[in-house]
Amino acid sequence: MTAIVETPTVTELDALESESIFIFREVAAEFERPVILFSGGKDSIVMLHLARKAFAPAAVPFTLLHVDTGHNFPEVLAYRDAVVEQLGLRLEVAKVEDYIADGRLRERTDGTRNQLQTVPLLDAINAHRFDAVFGGGRRDEERARAKERIFSLRDEFGQWDPRNQRPELWSLYNGRHRPGEHVRVFPLSNWTELDVWNYIEREQIPLPSIYYAHERDVFERDGMLLAVGPYSQPRSGETVAKRVVRYRTVGDMSCTGAVASVATSAAEVVIEVAASEITERGATRADDRASEAAMEDRKREGYF
């Protein structure tokens, strides 16, 4: 293959985009009631962008579902509502707060709510009879997610059985499931954090403002910068300082840390991410530090 052929080239980003679009179309064709898990975080925003491309000029044929911990960043909720409004999408919200209010769930002693999302998520899937559930999880994020199929079967309890996954050959995705079971679908499986940011820059996708550098009162805990707010207060010995920070991931405010950053645009974030010596979850997520297999345990129970 030494001959120089004048053909249009496909970049790595184009290839990833095409793979994701192919996945969205497979699901639209083979499932009855698909839903996109939409948190207003960058990965779910990129998912929605890709879904829109997959079906243009028609509308996205999927509902959105947000599991609201009650501890969300206000900027993210505002972004979520604006997108739904502008695009005329249907949004279902499952609220952890409702479960705590009527006693179906109890607040954890550490005050974090990421783990509490699983039950409302599974209840919403059952109540709406969603059969395909798109998640923005990427294999590069975390070692249990590195084990995921693109089409990943969940039993009627929403459980993942990582020791007994279906073989997944070529691009022949097998979405067969029995009544009560559902399939989690991960269109961004092969994207890295850097790919996501390069794509956000290339496509000029708007994001909630907290993804870019801003001033915030923060304190340091376990090597993370936590914002002072209603859900996270400094303990004695932890000093509050005004720092210029941004968020690399957006989760529950009680367990999501910020990173020191001066990046005010996607292009500047790309440069920062490329030079980073810490993974995005390692830098910013207290929930993954609970144990050696914290994510695997949550995922087995039906977590994202």
Partner: protein
């Protein structure tokens, strides 16, 4: 063409696959500080040295047993290119997961323990690589330090594997003496193997050609989903979405829509344009293999999911009977008369296994008579299918030449299938 390379590891249990992957990532500086700290903490808690395998063995059960159960995908890049690495299991029980990892690979790295030489699982993995037509196979003769860096040991294993690879039709095989634990010839050349003047593993990976570009082959466009917006702006719009499986689609091209066999031409190819508030399409002149696009046709004919738009001059036609080679992935055996589902491009149809022609004997690499196929067997079958399929031999088109067999009851993926050439050779 993309410089992305997809690679998969294979080899018998305890040959050191996960350690090699960990070493490769580590020496490429693809492991970040928090991941190293994590492995260090866990390794020390277990009272051992830094365990590279912990970088990819992500499941609790894998860490407890020290084996790889399912594929772990890792992403890394050097100055030259990006890599997607599928670290696959070695244990025979989990061969189906190795088939999963290898099915999308451009390169398979097969490890052999220098102390043990070629084992049955080595032969099975070579057969899988040959069957799937993975373009490049790298033989990593691992733990070369444990045989005193003996050139004769390396040469013998390279020769043994070379003979097996020849029989299986593997065209490109490179052998490298490595020690994953110490790092010999993984990223850095080893001073202890002065007799070896070939490339390191990373050098081979950086220079391997990626996926075969099929944009010069005849057009195959399996239709995934039909778009009909029915909005004021796009009232009569009818677009057929799909990913170009091979060839190049160009506006004006004469095409045939299978299975109906109707002739028409490409009226338009659309590219989505999506902004914060608007969703539209603009026309583009052509699209090549691998691109997800939407095409419109000149004539109003019946086109639905499962249709395949093909080059008018190079139609594969359709068939309801197939001779194929299958890798059997289920615990329950395949028997003649079995009723299954076949998933081929965007068509799913009922099928009956009418004949098991034979199974691959891993010792002789010949085909032997077989009444049934058991887990991990590679065999040759004939199928009768309830719907006509627009299929090509796997050797000429990996997308229109491959299929799954699926259990209609529980949905399990039973087999990976590759459609045979007319001559019907096994591999």
């Amino acid at each position: 063409m993309s410089t992305l390379l997809r690679l998969a590891t294979a080899g018998s249990v305890d040959d050191g696959k996960s350690t090699l992957v960990g070493r490769l990532l580590h020496d490429c500086k693809a492991i970040l500080a928090d991941q190293i700290a994590h492995v260090k903490t866990v390794s020390e808690a277990r009272g051992g040295d830094f365990d590279f395998a912990l970088l990819t063995d992500g499941l609790r059960a894998e860490r407890e047993q020290g084996i790889t159960i399912d594929v772990a995908y890792r992403y890394f890049a050097t100055d030259k290119r990006s890599f997607i690495l599928a670290d696959c299991p070695g244990h025979v029980q989990y061969t189906r997961n190795t088939v999963t990892g290898a099915s999308t690979a451009d390169v398979v790295i097969i490890l052999v323990d220098a102390r043990h030489g070629v084992l049955e699982q080595t032969r099975r993995h070579l057969a899988v690589a040959g069957l799937l037509r993975v373009p490049h196979v790298v033989l990593a003769v691992n733990k070369i330090d444990l045989v005193g860096y003996d050139e004769a040991v390396f040469t013998k294993i390279a020769k043994d594997v070379g003979e097996v690879a020849d029989q299986l039709g593997i065209a490109d095989l490179k052998a490298i003496p490595v020690s994953a634990l110490v790092g010999d010839n993984v990223v850095e050349h080893s001073a202890d193997t002065a007799w070896y003047d070939g490339p390191t593993l990373l050098e081979v990976l950086e220079n391997a050609t990626g996926r075969t570009d099929t944009s010069n082959q005849p057009l195959r466009f399996p239709v995934q989903y039909v778009i009909r917006p029915q909005t004021d702006e796009y009232r009569d719009y009818r677009g057929y979405t799909g990913t170009v499986a091979s060839g190049t689609v160009t506006v004006g091209d004469p095409v045939i829509v299978l299975p109906a066999g109707r002739r028409t031409s490409i009226a338009g190819i659309d590219r989505p344009v999506v902004t914060a508030t608007s969703t539209a399409v603009v026309e583009r002149p052509s699209a090549i293999a691998g691109e997800a696009v939407t095409v419109r046709l000149a004539d109003d004919i019946d086109v639905a999911r499962g249709s395949v738009i093909v080059a008018a001059e190079h139609s594969p036609g359709t068939r309801r009977e197939l001779a194929a080679t299958v890798s059997w992935l289920a615990d329950r055996p395949l028997t003649v008369g079995a009723r299954v589902l076949i998933k081929h491009t965007t068509t799913t149809a009922q099928a009956i296994v009418t004949k098991i022609t034979g199974a691959l004997d891993l010792d002789t690499l010949g085909v032997i008579d077989a009444a049934e196929l058991a887990l991990n067997d590679i065999g040759k079958v004939q199928l009768k299918i309830a719907a006509p399929l627009a299929a090509d031999p796997y050797s000429s088109n990996a997308i229109t030449g491959s299929f799954l067999l699926i259990d209609a009851h529980d949905g399990w993926t039973l087999a990976a299938g590759m459609i045979d050439d007319e001559e019907g050779e096994l591999l």
